[in-house]
């Protein structure tokens, strides 16, 4: 695809969790696996937005009328997360990390930071809003396809994580709520789907340079904004897997192309004015049905001129009808049925005709029916018709959710630009000169060059930089200065594969500290690191390991060499080396053995 010709525009929003304490309280940023200590049930009230009207996005969420169950822990969450205590001052540590990141991305750091409340109505924040603050602006990152502008860095609180959903109840765990997130937003400077991945990776690596950004699945989340000429900006949330990113973007381009096409045809066949919200109860038709509609409330609406359109594919396996089904699911129904797919699902042709008649559908018309709780049926059809009307204008302004198969599902309409207002519980945060004196961190490039200069080789250097153990490695480098950095890196990053062969998968940083301590002091040869680490990982003490694998004293080695010479005096030098080292089982350094044989052979 020629992305330039398509008028492809793409920007990223990256959210990265920090491993400091929480942003507005001193609870640890710790996700827990155990059962929660307590549960609290709350409701959220729809608030009237800035315009005095309820936001479209708010309105859609409101129909859910859900009960939110917040799960927390007695020892790692507090009243701040529960929205039962005002926020404490913003975490200095999180601010410091933001300053570090802002500098790596060549940004302007603001002198005064104003905390804002961003309305959130899905229940993922106990308060009903998310706190966020603009910290820096106007930066950039260089990529293989040119500069990508990073126009803002904000510091915000992460939302609670959804645990499960029951009928009318959503369970959220508040351990995640309040974890500081750095949000980076780029301008739409990204040229194609793979460029998006490169940019995301680059930004991710940059964030990691601070050593205070969490790694692992879910700790960095990407949202992608995509549009093409004739389409509209659509925000795709929750792209966690970078491998999936190109496919998601390609699919969005395809989706927008398809909708532009469908929209054109639709305008010839129908018009928004013809779409009436004339809902009729057609339950009677299904009284004796063999389908699942039997005995349910069934509400239908006729869609003038829509025949064939509901089943039009906008993506492989995703039709216009699927988008309406997404709404139904949000409202709390299982889905909708429409005339383009019927008769099917044991709904008979007679029943379809019945519905057509009841709704006065003509030959070129279509219908949708929703079944279940009557109120929910109304809501589904109401919102569904609104959504269909949008297709006349072209690509609807959506916020969509990434799905594991690379497609996206309708999440909610794009909110109005200004769902933010000042956080009145906190004063303005000053970025003081003292805060600005925070240690500067190296850019990924600088770090790469540093490792290469240490002799790591380019491949190993880039492995180290992208490793989640970078922080540990740098600490080890400083602590064990007598070990060559290359060797330290090889052992530290190679150990996992080596020990896996022996069936050992659990290695702690303490194991490594003990190992490198022994080598650093010269009591252990690096040749026996695999064996030594094996024992350490099994919980053996340093002393035991030293005794078993520790470097032989000169006397001991002399004895061993003499013993071998006595037996195999006539063997070649090379063979003798092998024999001695074999007997020494890694307890003797090669160079020392060489010297000793040379000495004694005379």
């Amino acid at each position: 695809m020629n992305y330039e010709k398509l008028g492809f525009k793409c920007g990223l929003e990256i959210h990265a969790q920090l491993d400091t304490n929480k942003l507005f309280c001193s609870c640890p940023s710790m996700l827990r696996k155990e059962d929660p200590d307590f549960r609290v049930e709350r409701k959220l009230r729809a608030v009237v937005g800035e315009t005095g009207k309820k936001d479209v996005a708010t309105k859609l969420e409101e129909v859910k009328d859900k009960l939110f169950v917040y799960e927390g822990y007695d020892d790692t969450t507090c009243l701040v997360e529960m929205d039962s205590e005002p926020p404490h001052m913003m975490s200095r540590e999180a601010l410091m990390v933001s300053v570090q990141v802002a500098r790596l991305l060549n940004m302007n750091i603001l002198k005064k930071v104003l905390v804002m409340r961003k309305t959130v109505v899905d229940g993922s924040n106990t308060s009903g809003f998310q706190r966020t603050a603009l910290v820096a602006e106007d930066g950039f990152v260089d990529t293989s396809l040119g500069r990508v502008r990073v126009n803002m860095l904000s510091l915000e609180e992460d939302a609670a994580r959804k645990i499960k959903e029951e009928k009318d109840k959503i369970f959220y765990r508040i351990d995640r709520l309040g974890i500081p997130l750095i949000e980076l937003r780029t301008e739409p400077d990204i040229k194609n789907p793979f460029h998006a991945v490169e940019t995301a990776k680059k930004l991710g690596t940059t964030l990691w340079m601070t050593n205070h950004v969490k790694r692992g699945l879910g700790s960095i989340r990407q949202d992608v904004n995509v549009s093409i000429k004739g389409g509209t900006r659509v925000e795709i949330k929750g792209v966690q897997d970078l491998k999936l990113m190109p496919k998601i973007i390609e699919n969005e381009v395809l989706r927008q192309k398809n909708i532009i096409l469908i929209s054109k045809e639709l305008r010839k066949k129908s018009s928004p004015k013809l779409l009436k919200k004339d809902f009729k109860n057609v339950s009677k038709i299904f009284e004796k049905s063999k389908s699942f509609l039997k005995g349910k409330n069934v509400l239908g609406v006729c869609l003038k001129g829509f025949k064939g359109f509901i089943s039009r594919e906008i993506l492989p396996n995703r039709r216009i009808g699927t988008e309406i089904a997404d709404i139904a699911k949000m409202v709390g129904l299982k889905g909708v049925l429409h005339s383009d797919e019927l008769p099917a699902y044991k709904v008979s042709a007679r029943e379809v005709n019945g519905v057509n008649k009841a709704l006065s559908c003509g030959k070129s018309d279509a219908f949708i029916i929703a079944a279940g709780e009557i109120g929910k049926c109304y809501q589904t059809l109401e919102l569904g018709v609104d959504r269909l009307k949008q297709f006349f204008k072209g690509v609807p302004k959506d916020v969509r959710a990434a799905r594991p198969d690379g497609t996206t599902a309708f999440l909610r309409p794009m909110p109005g630009s200004a769902r933010m207002y000042p956080e009145t519980d906190l004063p303005i945060v000053e970025i003081s000169d003292e805060l600005l004196r925070v240690e500067r961190v190296e850019t990924p490039e600088q770090k790469f060059d540093k490792f290469v200069n240490m002799g790591l080789g380019e491949e190993l250097a880039s492995q180290v930089i992208n490793s989640r153990k970078l922080k540990d490695f740098e600490q080890l480098l400083v602590t064990y200065k007598k070990i060559k950095p290359t060797e330290l890196a090889k052992m530290f990053f190679g150990a996992k594969t080596e020990l896996k062969k022996k069936g050992i998968t659990k290695l702690t940083i303490k194991n490594f500290s003990e190992l490198f301590g022994l080598i650093n002091e010269g009591v252990l040869s690096k040749d026996s690191y695999v064996e030594a680490l094996t024992m350490l990982s099994k919980g053996r003490s340093r002393k035991v390991v030293e005794k078993k694998f520790g470097v032989m004293s000169e006397d001991e080695l002399e004895k061993l060499v003499k013993k071998v010479l006595k037996k195999h005096g006539s063997a070649s030098f090379g063979a003798l080396m092998g024999l001695v080292r074999g007997e020494a089982r890694g307890r003797a350094d090669g160079k020392m053995v060489f010297k000793m044989i040379q000495q004694l052979k005379k």
């Binding site: 049930e41 009237v48 005064k112 207002y421 303005i428």
Partner: protein, 448 residues
């Protein structure tokens, strides 16, 4: 110089708050945004198109250009009310506080709702429960600024309203900090009360989805329909949004600075549990029922001080109150009502005699000041006999306030002294007027 005057220094246009402007800095950077009010002295605040507010220091500003005129500050949303036959008629008296306010989402400014239509916009469901027929607002202040004169004013207003045939009950909204002082003041002032009076507030601001005030108001509306003719606070009963507690005005106390369920009954059971769907469960059978009797307004509050003793506390503080003409002093003693005396044992020779409160209590009593003892444990009853020190205090002329918590005792003594001679007040403080003294201390009433 006001904010706007400072802004005008940088522009010849008559720039107003909420206008869209371009701020050009001395470094020739330009920032476009909507001008937002700001309380910091040294800069202005712009709302950027991405929604964030951005601070720009005045010292960096070169000039400000007007891009377009802004809208007026959003008006408070309101909902048209249709009165329904058969629903009780309720008068709402709004006095300030978090509840009954509206936050302007652009500026973050807080505005008071002035009409029933505006209040109801925050709780549309209330109009299915009661008809809010009138909204009165004598003043709008944070509850920590409320004075006894204002308790009196509100009491007068409530009395006038409940004595109207067309009015079924009254809801008073107030800031939560001193809500329990007000509820006690109303309880004493409205004698022979024959209709429910609900005192309501909010612990969370109304701009957020988690606003607790709407459920409190809704439950208050249900309370207005009930048969309980008492002044009661209606606030969240738990940290969840499940039910509210109606707690007797003289027995309630704010026991937490920020939780939704901060209001708890002290030495008493709540009157009732009220669910937002209208279910009411009576928890305390000893309540006053609705009647046709005329409510008698007997109000007014004299100057009464409240002193807390503590280890090493200096009792001379009492002299200040005596000299300032206070007619009563409530002492928050320790435990059963102790004050330091230095006479608990023969061996307390090291006790500095100057720290004994007894001479000062005697002096106050001699001057006709009523000295009444409560406890800083908040829960439990004081007792004048168990220990020698208590008896000494009793003998010195202090009167013990049974199981009233200190703030209720304060309001009651102030009320008694405004309406009776000190000698009478001293006797009457031990007499129950509005459920403030319970004869039996119920086991379940602790930490309810």
């Amino acid at each position: 110089m006001t904010y706007i005057e400072k802004i005008k220094n940088f522009s010849d246009k008559n720039i107003r708050v909420l206008d869209k402007v371009r701020v050009i800095t001395k470094k020739e950077e330009g920032f476009d945004g909507v001008l937002i009010p700001n309380s910091e002295e040294d800069g202005l605040v712009l709302k950027l198109s991405n929604g964030y507010n951005r601070f720009v220091e005045f010292k960096n500003v070169k000039k400000i250009e007007l891009i377009s005129r802004g809208e007026k500050i959003a008006s408070i949303p309101s909902i048209k009310i249709t009165r329904k036959k058969g629903l009780p008629n309720v008068v709402l008296i709004a006095t300030g506080g978090t509840i009954g306010t509206h936050v302007d989402y652009k500026t973050g400014g807080v505005f008071m709702c002035r009409t029933p239509e505006q209040i109801i916009a925050t709780v549309p469901r209330i109009s299915k429960v009661v008809n809010i027929v009138r909204m009165l607002s004598p003043f709008t202040i944070a509850s920590e600024d409320i004075t006894p004169e204002q308790w009196q004013e509100i009491a007068g207003m409530v009395a006038r309203e409940v004595n109207k045939k067309s009015v079924d009950s009254v809801i008073v909204t107030v800031g939560t900090d001193t809500m329990h002082y007000l509820s006690a003041a109303l309880s004493f002032s409205l004698q022979k009360l024959s209709k429910p009076v609900a005192v309501v507030g909010a612990q969370r601001s109304p701009d957020r989805g988690s606003f607790d005030g709407s459920m409190n108001l809704l439950c208050a509306a249900h309370y207005c329909k009930s048969k309980i003719a008492e002044v009661a606070t209606i606030m969240h009963g738990s940290s969840e949004d499940d039910y509210c507690l109606a707690i007797r005005g003289t027995k309630v106390r704010k026991m937490h600075s920020s939780r939704r369920d901060a209001f708890r009954p002290i030495n008493d059971l709540p009157l009732a549990k009220i669910w937002p769907n209208g279910r009411i469960e009576i928890l305390n059978q000893r309540y006053t029922r609705r009647s046709d009797s005329k409510t008698i307004l007997k109000t007014g509050f004299s100057k009464v001080g409240l002193i807390k003793v503590f280890p090493g506390s200096n009792p001379e503080i009492m002299d200040w109150y005596i000299k300032k003409g206070y007619k009563g002093i409530i002492i928050e003693g320790t435990g059963l009502g102790h004050v330091p005396t230095g006479e608990s044992s023969d061996k307390t020779k090291s006790f500095d005699k100057k720290l004994s409160w007894l001479p000062w209590v005697k002096k106050a009593v001699k001057k006709g000041v009523v000295v009444a003892i409560t406890t800083q444990t908040i829960y439990g009853r004081v007792n004048p006999y168990v220990y020698r020190n208590l008896r000494l205090l009793n003998r010195a002329g202090a009167v013990f306030c049974e199981d009233m918590h200190p703030e209720t005792a304060l309001v009651k003594l102030a009320w008694l002294l405004a309406n009776h001679e000190p000698s009478q007040a001293k006797e009457l403080i031990k007499k129950n007027f509005a459920g403030e003294i319970s004869e039996a201390t119920i086991n379940k009433a602790f930490l309810y």
